[in-house]
Symmetry: C2
DNA sequence: TATTGTTATACTCTATAACTATA
DNA sequence: TATAGTTATAGAGTATAACAATA
């Protein structure tokens, strides 16, 4: 029964189901769904000159005016060096300003411009619309269950990592 | 009320909640959860010499012996060029063989070796264990609800993209 | 002409190490 | 010494365009 060491020219199962064995894993389904979502959200945001990551950064700055780059990095769970070009990009687009913190001349205080706030509102609407479309086959309960399940997984793994 | 154009040295909200505005979006929660999961699964697979992507490819080949590279690309939803080095890697590790298809000398038939099959079984167990751990705060119903919600989103977006 | 696999190339996101200027 | 931001660099994962061999 177990002799597939030799080349086989097997009957191809339906190509749409060739990954059936992987579909039992939550992680694989997350990867597939996220990949699709990211591409789609990025396409929605392109007309606004944003990507998923720049939108996220802008949104956090708008909601937390005055925060420092290192705080932004913590909020987005990315490393500080990766923020430099990202913040440069937002600054160059006049969406935020980088102001020296009064109490600590090493640090920057990140603040949205009027233009940044306006664009953020539009982008939030765009992403919200997209979110609604992509979850349109889900009931409200299923949608909120999805969010809390994702957060549960994130929390369980972060707790595990911290306890190492 | 809307005058945050000037630098603010705002009171920092709890840093853990600085992304609260983004948490309402399914896509953002997917991104955060997936990023954590991918890092964690990769760490689990490293002792076996695999990553999430190489595991996925190996698993599809084991479950569909004889399939072609282009079919593998379709199954994993990645572009053909990106498979070349991936398949090279699996071949070099003696996990699969690349055999010329008898009926089409342009194509390769991908087949797992005994070693590849054995490693795949071990890796599947590893990923399954990881999946169970990370969903341990979910009920079975919540876990299967999560999987079907992710698939629903993937399907909705793919349907939309096809109808463009 | 169309398709299979390939090469070359590039872009996005992420990570680590080491530097600078402050503290 | 330690911290904030930076530079340099590297490694995954993905994408497109163009090519050779074959259909």
């Amino acid at each position: 029964m177990t002799k597939p060491t030799e080349p086989a020219n097997a009957i191809q199962p339906s190509l749409e189901e060739a990954d059936a064995a992987l579909r039992v894993f939550v992680g694989y389904n997350m990867k597939r769904a996220f990949h699709t979502v990211q591409g789609d959200v990025t396409a929605s945001l392109t007309p606004l000159g944003l990507r998923m990551l720049t939108f996220s950064a802008l949104s956090v700055i708008v909601s937390n005016a005055g925060l420092r780059q290192s705080h932004l990095a913590d909020a987005l769970a990315i490393e500080r060096p990766n923020l430099v070009l990202l913040v440069d990009e937002l600054e160059r687009a006049d969406l935020i300003t980088r102001d020296r913190a009064k109490d600590d001349r090493r640090a920057y205080s990140l603040n949205p411009t009027e233009k940044g706030i306006a664009l953020c509102r539009r982008a939030e609407q765009t992403v919200l619309d997209h979110d609604r479309r992509m979850t349109r086959d889900l009931t409200p309960a299923e949608r909120s269950g999805l969010i809390s399940a994702l957060q549960s997984i994130e929390n369980v793994l972060n707790r595990e990592d911290r306890d190492d």
